[in-house]
């Protein structure tokens, strides 16, 4: 079952034999995962299968109890999500991603705002540059958001995802992880998010997507990794399996 695509090119991310225990529970048990440039990998599995724990090790939230993570061939250790982000691993959470009271441009640049001097003295935020750069990156991703000065609160779920993705791309993400990106979105909005994932792929940015939604998975994934009870039980090209195969692997009746 453990076949790999693109053998020959170097994987962007290699997770080798990752294990994470919580007390007596082995949440992730000796799982390895390779992600290649421009590849969309879906992580499937029932609740409690270890998907989130695996992702949290890759995004710097948890430290693995055993195993190694390599980014573009170099071993990395991350003490915090912030360190992961500075290495180019951007995680987009459903809820925690954006400050809803701030507008899109501020969110894209928050914590890393460009500044200029006022009268050669006082450092202030260069809002025009932020707006221009935001427009550029949104254009590049073929995202159309009218009036970037509106607070995020007033945007639709799909637009929020788009802003989060634009931020990841602007800061040169080498790997984008999306946790349930279409949960709580309507169907047209879901399609927009799928479209964005394809755009990322075209720009050679690999994406790991966690989803409960099989439609999501088949719409975007090149490869599907299935987890069950902490183990990796499947790693298959998306074109070679059906919904039923996937469900069978997830619940262990295959």
């Amino acid at each position: 079952m453990m076949e790999k695509q693109n053998t020959g090119t170097q994987p962007v991310l290699q997770a080798v034999n990752l294990t994470k225990r919580f007390g007596g529970l082995v949440a992730v048990n000796n799982v390895s995962l390779d992600i290649y440039p421009g590849e969309v990998v879906a992580l499937a599995g029932d609740n409690g299968a270890g998907k989130s724990t695996l992702i949290k090790m890759i995004s710097g939230v948890y430290r693995p109890d055993a195993g190694h993570i390599y980014l573009e061939g170099r071993e990395i250790t991350m003490a915090s999500p912030l360190e992961a982000r500075s290495l180019g691993i951007e995680t987009i959470y459903q809820d925690l991603a954006l400050c809803e009271n701030l507008d899109a441009t501020v969110n894209i640049f928050l914590g890393r705002e460009p500044t200029k001097r006022l009268l050669g003295l006082f450092k202030q935020v260069d809002r025009n540059l932020m707006l221009a750069e935001s427009n550029k990156v949104l254009d590049r991703l073929d995202i159309h958001i009218p009036n970037l000065r509106r607070p995020i609160r007033q945007m639709s779920g799909g637009q929020r995802q788009a802003v989060a993705i634009a931020r990841a791309v602007y800061w040169n993400a080498r790997l984008v992880i999306m946790d349930e990106p279409t949960a709580a979105l309507g169907v047209p909005e879901q399609r927009k998010v799928h479209e964005l994932i394809h755009t990322l792929k075209r720009q050679n940015v690999p994406v790991i997507i966690i989803s409960h939604n099989l439609q999501d998975i088949f719409a975007v994934a090149d490869r599907i990794v299935v987890m069950r009870r902490g183990h990796k039980v499947g790693d298959v090209p998306a074109g070679e399996v059906t919904d039923d195969d996937l469900v069978a692997m997830m619940v262990g009746s295959a």
Partner: protein, 350 residues
């Protein structure tokens, strides 16, 4: 699937926000309208009794300035998602510190004032660190410091001076320096405008610039809006909050120093209930108790409304007992009006 682009949403939201519309979406709009309305009301009922004279104007601006300095600092803290109930006690503590150091220990008053500033910054720092470390609501932590500070101020002042008030501070060494910086006034057209008004306006201007134009301003909004998301992108949320607590304590010190210089005495009870009035002014100015939204100009306008009402009812010959009734009613009306405006503004932008 990959090659097909989705139809671009024809969006009715694609409207250029005009100047008027932008103005309508500002948090301080309600307070601006309120300030104009209150001024008109008192111009009508007390206009012939001195409210409209330059001296009358100077008198309500002075009252507004003390409160405004506090309200602007509180507004920044509230936008950052926190609260400080201890600033009233901090006023008493800072004043008593200066007076005790000057009258008992013979420290020149200007130096005593600097030391008191250090004490205030330390109190703000401790408040901030306690809130961050314990993860308790700042309401609880600073409610605690409200009483601790007031109690310490009264107890220590009595130990050192045997009293709770210290007078004749203008006889002490170093008073002149304070008078120059904090106690002066600017004569305009025969009326004296206290220098505290300049402090108030300067602080409101600087706070506005910080909020609207600097990285720190963005970080304040993000800390109050979604601290978790802000931390995730590298905003030093804890440092921002601690800094804001120190700024509010420093504002309390400034008010204490100005008052002490003007009335030439210190009283351990000074500043009592000022924390509530400052919060009311900030809320009237459109700042949300829940954080992440508001403005320094709004808080300054809230203080102006407060000052006009407080002096206005005196000029109008209304019994000052009624002031608190006005204050409470004004708070509730202002919040309702601000909420209404905010809803309308959001609808207009949709």
């Amino acid at each position: 699937m990959t090659s097909r682009t989705l139809p671009k949403t024809s969006d009715e939201r694609l409207v250029e926000a005009g100047l008027l519309k932008r103005l309508l979406t500002r948090p301080e709009l309600g307070a601006l309208g309120g300030a104009i309305l209150v001024w008109i009301i008192f111009a009508i009922i007390a206009g012939n009794r001195g409210f409209l004279t330059l001296q009358g104007t100077a008198s309500y601006l002075e009252v507004s300035s003390y409160l405004g300095i506090l309200a602007v600092a509180i507004a920044l803290l509230m936008i950052g998602g926190e609260f400080d109930l201890s600033i009233g006690s901090m006023i008493g503590a800072a004043g008593a510190t200066i007076a005790v150091l000057g009258s008992v220990f013979g420290v020149p008053l200007w130096l005593a004032s600097l030391i008191a500033l250090g004490v205030a910054l330390l109190v703000g720092f401790v408040n901030g660190v306690m809130v961050i470390r314990t993860k308790l609501p700042s309401f609880i932590i600073t409610l605690g410091s409200l009483f601790i500070l007031r109690g310490l101020t009264i107890a220590l002042t009595r130990i050192f001076t045997g009293r709770t008030q210290v007078g004749s501070l203008d006889q002490l060494e170093g008073y002149e320096v304070l008078r120059l910086l904090f106690g002066g006034s600017i004569p305009i057209g025969g009326a004296n405008f206290p220098v505290s008004i300049v402090w108030w306006l300067a602080i409101a201007a600087v706070a506005t610039w910080v909020l609207m134009r600097t990285r720190f301003g963005n970080w304040i909004f993000s800390a109050g809006g979604n601290a978790e998301a802000a931390r995730n992108v590298g905003v030093p949320v804890s440092r921002v909050k601690v800094t804001l607590f120190m700024a509010t304590a420093a504002a309390a010190w400034l008010v204490a120093t100005i008052q002490l210089t003007v009335v030439k005495s210190a009283d351990t009870l000074r500043g009592t209930q000022q924390e509530f009035i400052a919060i009311i002014a900030a809320v009237i100015g459109g700042n949300l108790l829940t954080g992440g939204y508001g403005s320094a100009v709004g808080a300054a306008l809230g203080a102006l409304i407060f000052g006009m009402v407080r002096q206005g009812i005196v000029y109008a010959g209304i019994d000052a007992d009624w002031f608190q009734v006005f204050l409470g009613a004004m708070l509730i009306v202002a919040v309702l009006v601000n909420n209404f405006i905010r809803d309308q503004a959001e609808k207009a932008r949709r």
